[in-house]
Amino acid sequence: MSAATLWDRAFGAVLLGVAGVYAVDAWNIHVPFQYEPLGPTAFPLLLAAVLATTGVLLVARPDPVHWFTRRDQAFRVAAGAVVMGVYAALFVPLGFMISTALMTFAMARLFGLPAIKAAIYGVVLAVVGYFGIAEALGLNVPFGDIFRS
């Protein structure tokens, strides 16, 4: 078993597990009564069966996958995911402008932009985004809980 095929095998195994959990969940749906023979469970059970079968096939015959040939790639992807997660967490509490400036700064840094340029871009995008896009288009974006008295 080569390392390159491990990804597909692992994913196939995960699909198998998901199919199991999904099937149990579907089985436990309680319905007072229904007007057709299928009800809310038949279709999900069928899907779980198909997913389980395909999962087994994937474990049996995986494709080689080459992922993260360099270590810095894994770091940047993980960091990018964290930046977006933090952005989502701060979006409402800090409001659009501050959270956008912070996200933009961090993201631009990950793409190698010098700190000063990244900071300027962060502020520009936050302000232009708020007034140029959100306000001008009338889109509802958070003003920021911290600004509420």
């Binding site: 007072p32 009564f33 229904q34 007007y35 509802n140």
Partner: protein, 323 residues
């Protein structure tokens, strides 16, 4: 210095002397707990337009879709439980879901301050123009003889308002709603299409959505599910009660606020709604949205909503939808 002190004292005194004038909403907002363009949006637009003269700044309509109001209900009970500036649209559909526990296990009808009604609509029994059934009586007799011989359809699942109308009609002649042939569509538009296309024979819809079809002569209303006959242009249709079937289904639309909103703010909003009920402009706005009169605010509306939820809970229990 002295003048400043006097001015301050005067301000404080004024504040004590006129408590009613102290509250005024800032950036008033109406949350439509659905996507734009739907019934909740229209309910908010009624408030937005009717209250315009009474508000210090225009009311903003925002959207929070999810579970016929479940998301907004949870939101109001966490983030904005005492926010005096926001009202949320509700309908009898939301009340029905509260009664069935579909707003989440944590919430029931005591987790909001029911504010005021915008208006009402009523259920209707609808068939295609060329249907063999001329009266509700004929339809019900056929249903009694063979409950599964008629295909009913409407825009909601088992336990929804449209289903309740069908179930109540069947119950009134002693037929178990479980023996129906009922088809659930997504919304009124799709149900009307199914009726016109002949996939279903009877549609248990609402009166106001029928204006276009009645005028075009493509569908007929056999009976309306109101207590009394409706005003023009619907006055010609008999009520189910007149025909001898005791079924009434009122679809109400209104607003609520967070459960910890101060009495001061709540009373202020109630007073505004009572003002607009007297305004002929409001009647016009309401009619444009296809709503009939239902003027109820404050305590009266609160009692009404809670009684409705209790009645819905009883119905759901009888139908076996909840334990």
């Amino acid at each position: 210095m002295k003048s400043l002190k006097t001015a301050l004292a005067a301000l404080v005194l004024a504040g004590f002397a006129l408590p009613a004038a102290a509250f005024e909403p800032e950036r008033p907002e109406c949350i439509a707990p659905a996507n734009p363009g739907g019934g909740f949006d229209l309910t908010c637009r009624v408030a937005q337009r009717a209250l315009e003269p009474a508000l210090p700044s225009p009311m903003e309509v925002t959207f929070m879709p999810g579970g016929i109001g479940a998301v907004a209900y949870a939101h109001m009970n966490s983030n904005r439980i005492d926010d005096p500036n926001v009202i949320v649209a509700l309908s009898s559909g939301s009340a029905l879901n509260i009664a069935q526990g579909k707003f989440g296990a944590d919430f029931d009808e005591n987790d909001a301050r029911w504010l005021a009604a915008a208006g009402a609509d009523f259920g209707a029994v609808i068939v295609r123009a060329d249907s063999p059934y001329q009266t509700l009586g004929e339809l019900m007799e056929a249903a009694e003889a063979d409950p599964s011989g008629i295909v009913l359809g409407a825009g909601g699942s088992i336990g929804s308002q449209d289903w309740m109308k069908a179930a109540l009609l069947m119950r009134s002649i002693g037929v178990d709603p479980r023996n129906l042939r009922y088809v659930a569509y997504e919304g009124g538009g799709a149900s009307k299409a199914a009726l016109l296309g002949g996939q279903i024979q009877v549609y248990t819809g609402d009166v106001s959505e029928m204006a276009g079809e009645l005028e075009a002569g493509t569908m007929r209303i056999l009976a309306v599910l109101s207590e009394e006959r409706l005003p023009e242009p619907f006055a010609e249709f008999p009520t189910a009660r007149e025909e001898g079937y005791d079924v009434v289904w009122t679809i109400f639309r209104g607003y609520y606020m967070g459960q910890d909103v101060s009495d001061e703010a709540y009373d202020w909003w109630v007073a505004r709604f009572e003002e607009i009920y007297a305004d002929p402009r409001f009647a016009e706005i309401r009619a444009e949205q296809g709503l009939f009169e239902l003027n109820m605010a404050g305590e009266e509306f609160d009692t009404y909503v809670k009684a409705q939820v209790a009645a819905f809970r009883e119905l759901a229990r009888e139908a076996g939808l909840i334990q």
